[in-house]
Subunit: 326 residues, 2 copies
């Protein structure tokens, strides 16, 4: 963790109490003048830090901006995801940045956020609208020891983590629409794009691109999405602090990724099923050139959706566009 | 097809007969002076073209070099694979070149050959030795409408095509070792590396990297491979013309790719099984962190190897390193 991350963490730990420059200096093991410099740096980034001559410093207000140091300070101990965090003000797509990192050999677990994306993308080549400062647009680099065919597991584990983190942070009831959408009251509020580079039987790297519509107003959505999409702030009736949510999501992702690596997919799938709005419903699914209609029965062992067709046959669906029929 | 490709094709069609400049001019629909220029160009590339004052031109000898025009002239009508061909004297890896093309949006079917590769690679990060002028080292760009989990089909179709082309061209009995090695007398003579870029349920592009040890002598192989690898020329006792073989392979690949797109995987798989030395054998397979031992029984519907383990369970293996035990 950087100096500023340590400093923020210490200020946050002190809560409503002030903490003296001397105590901070001792706690962080750095000089008083470096503490003063760190406080100035944090203030310049928008943190309100009050200072009383005899009591010390107190964190009086936090801006709703994303800073790598801040995010690292909130994360605590993670095993893989979030070991390294970068925040860009603007980029084409955080997946592009992470892909470049992947090709340069960067280790798994690196995370890249952007305050806005100029060419954010969703599944199947669709555009993803990423207005500045309104959401969480980020990508995670993974190098899982899985075969390409086992990758639906990653989507399931990621969707379960994002859903749980949203619910934990906001108290809203969030559901999963197979394979990777998070819904609030039937409207999409977050999505996950999985991109991968692989040999036939070895994934070289995989990028989780995650978009969460946090503080978008109705007007922030493209017109064609206004009826089917929503944001956390619309559903909650007040803004949500993005950095807290980001840290919650990264912790949840890291937790599920560890479980996946420990062979605990079944437990993750069970949680997923509990919060999935697709199962038990009549669905129609466009998968490539096929259309499959039937009742979504359960999740298969590799994360596939098992659909009982009108003809009684059980179809194993690993991807595609799902429409819930009734 | 370019002028020189058309010209080569016409000369080749005339066979032992000479064909006059006037006839060539008429056939190709270009002026006599362009024919003369084309003949000079071909001669400068090593083609032996005899000219008799009254009879005309005759193709007396062809160099064992790869030229895009020559390859195109030999290919005839292909649907997808080989619509565009490039030949490099040297490159890091033809897969690298094709990957760049794929990222630039080039259409599927493009093929890149190199006379030598400085960083040729095989499966699972292994080196692939590619000595200058001794083999066929090339890559094919595909954009199949398949999901990542269906990709074993591509390997099966490609291996079947390469095997058949080698047998057709040389008369040697060639076998397939699952998933993608071609053997002559139990020794590896060709391999296929499949690399892909995909979303969870959509392949964006796929690169077939194919290496065929055509005219390597025993000394051309790295020491550690001399007991397990061979070349077509070693097995045949004489050199093999690389351009003819290349055209044969591309035609076979194009044919099988068309069949795959037409939903005829079952027929391809049947041919594959007939020429596979893995089926019916005791095998041990390293797939990721797993080791699977048992009897290779058959090919599953997506190209997976179905292995009956010692415990009687049928395992579905989609990749890995196969050792034939007895």
């Amino acid at each position: 963790m950087s100096r500023d991350a340590e400093l923020l963490k210490a200020l946050r730990a002190a809560g409503e109490d002030a903490i003296s420059g001397a105590d901070l200096s001792k706690k962080l093991g750095i000089s008083r003048s470096l503490i003063t410099a760190g406080i100035e740096q944090l203030r310049s980034e928008g943190y309100e830090i009050s200072a009383s001559p005899h009591l010390g410093y107190r964190l009086a207000g936090e801006p709703d901006v994303l800073h790598a140091d801040d995010l690292l300070s909130r994360l605590g101990d993670v095993k893989v995801i979030g070991r390294d965090i970068q925040v860009f003000q603007e980029t084409t797509s955080t997946n592009d940045v992470v892909e470049k990192m992947a090709r340069d050999g960067v280790k798994e677990g690196a995370v890249v956020f952007a305050e806005s994306q100029t060419r954010g993308r969703g599944r199947l080549g669709r555009k993803w609208s990423s207005p500045k400062g309104k959401g969480l647009w980020f990508s995670v680099l993974l190098r899982p020891a899985l075969q390409p065919r086992e990758l639906t597991q990653i989507t399931v584990a990621s969707a379960a983590a994002v859903r749980a983190a949203i619910e934990m942070q906001t108290g809203l009831v969030a559901e999963i629409k197979w394979p990777n959408d998070i819904l609030l009251g039937g409207r999409k509020t977050a999505g996950i794009l999985v991109e991968l580079q692989a040999e036939l039987d070895r994934v070289r790297y995989l990028i989780l691109g995650i978009g969460v519509d946090v503080n978008l107003s109705a007007a922030d959505f493209p017109a064609e999405l206004r009826k089917t999409a929503t944001s956390l702030s619309i559903a909650l009736g007040k803004p949500v602090h993005r950095a807290s949510l980001a840290a919650e999501i990264l912790r949840a992702l890291d937790h599920n990724y560890s479980r996946l690596r420990a062979g605990e997919f079944a437990a993750i799938a069970e949680e997923w099923e509990k919060h999935c709005c697709t199962l038990g419903r009549q669905v129609s699914i466009h998968a490539g050139t096929r259309e499959i209609r039937g009742r979504a029965e359960s999740l298969g062992e590799e994360g596939a959706l098992l659909v009982r067709t009108e003809h009684g046959h059980l179809e194993r669906v690993t991807g595609g566009d799902v429409t819930l029929e009734k």
